[in-house]
Amino acid sequence: MGVAVEEAISNETRDLFTSPNNKICKLTGIQVANTDAATRIEIQDTFTTTTSNGASATSVTEVRKVIMLEAGKTYSWNDDEGNIKIFGTCKVEVPNVTAIDVTVMWE
């Protein structure tokens, strides 16, 4: 169980947490506060694949969740079942110039 908090995210990507190699972490909650302009927010998972029968090892970024948030609004999401899995490093990307506070909970 863990919590990551990032404040004043604007036009950037930040790391939230990294799933240990011997675990599959699952998102259980996200809270977002937008104190500036409307934006699109991506929760991403970046990991390196293993060389398999059909593919070489490569770095992959998968978008796990997209949140559209109006200016000055807040967003809250909870999932006790943990349906969104994180294999590698969980990141948040805010592509616009704005100010976003993000709290992510996982287990």
Partner: protein, 208 residues
């Protein structure tokens, strides 16, 4: 010994247990064990988790032996050791096929012609396989036993379509047992000995 137990995780070999190797151990690199009795000494339990992230509709072969580079090296290094290994699978939408001897002898198959697992066949893909519903991290029901120089065993892990990517966790509990040969086992020791059958004794033919 390669077996999926039907209910709960099997009990591990303990200090002082008597084992007898099956006649399948009469051939090949492991011939010295066939039919003989051994006493288990000082078992030590070692946990080990391996992870693999692969795209869907693809597979990876996890070689448990010490055969060459790229293998998992879970077999004993010493001739007087037996590694009893429990496996737990943690991976959604993933199918695991035990293959021994590697690279292409599926352990589980049916007797009728052609009834062998096939990743490329949308029906037989689900034949003779394990999933996380069968053996989990918290209830490891799949047991394997290996002596030094046993034929290599592969766990072929296939990620079924529709997953994008999947992180496969294979949880191993290795019970490292030192074994000493009983040259003249008593009748009592013979009676209570746990039989360790080789894969060739457990594997049923057909299907080819």
């Amino acid at each position: 010994m390669i077996k999926l137990f039907s209910d709960k995780a099997p009990s591990l070999l303990l200090d002082g247990y008597i084992i007898q190797f099956g006649d399948g151990y009469n051939t090949g690199e492991v011939a010295k064990f066939g039919g003989r009795y051994y006493k288990v000494k000082n078992p030590q339990q070692v946990r080990y988790t391996r992870y693999y992230i692969i795209p869907d509709s693809d597979y990876i072969d996890v070689n448990l032996s010490n055969a060459s580079s790229g293998t998992e090296n879970l077999y004993p290094y010493q001739a007087n050791e037996l590694n009893e290994i429990l496996l737990g699978i943690e991976a959604d939408g993933t199918i695991v096929y035990p293959i021994i001897p590697a690279p292409d002898r599926y352990f589980q198959q049916l007797g009728y012609t052609g009834m062998i697992p096939s990743i490329t066949d949308s029906t037989k893909r689900y034949l003779g396989c394990l999933t996380q519903d069968d053996t989990t991290k918290d209830n490891m029901r799949f047991r394997m036993c290996f002596v030094k120089d046993e034929d290599p065993m592969v766990l072929r892990c296939y990620v079924d379509s529709g997953q994008s990517y999947e992180k496969i966790l294979l949880h191993f509990l290795v019970n490292r047992c030192t074994i000493s040969k009983l040259d003249v086992p008593t009748e009592s020791q013979k009676a209570k000995a746990r039989r360790i059958l080789r894969y060739s004794e457990l594997k049923k033919g057909g299907g080819m």
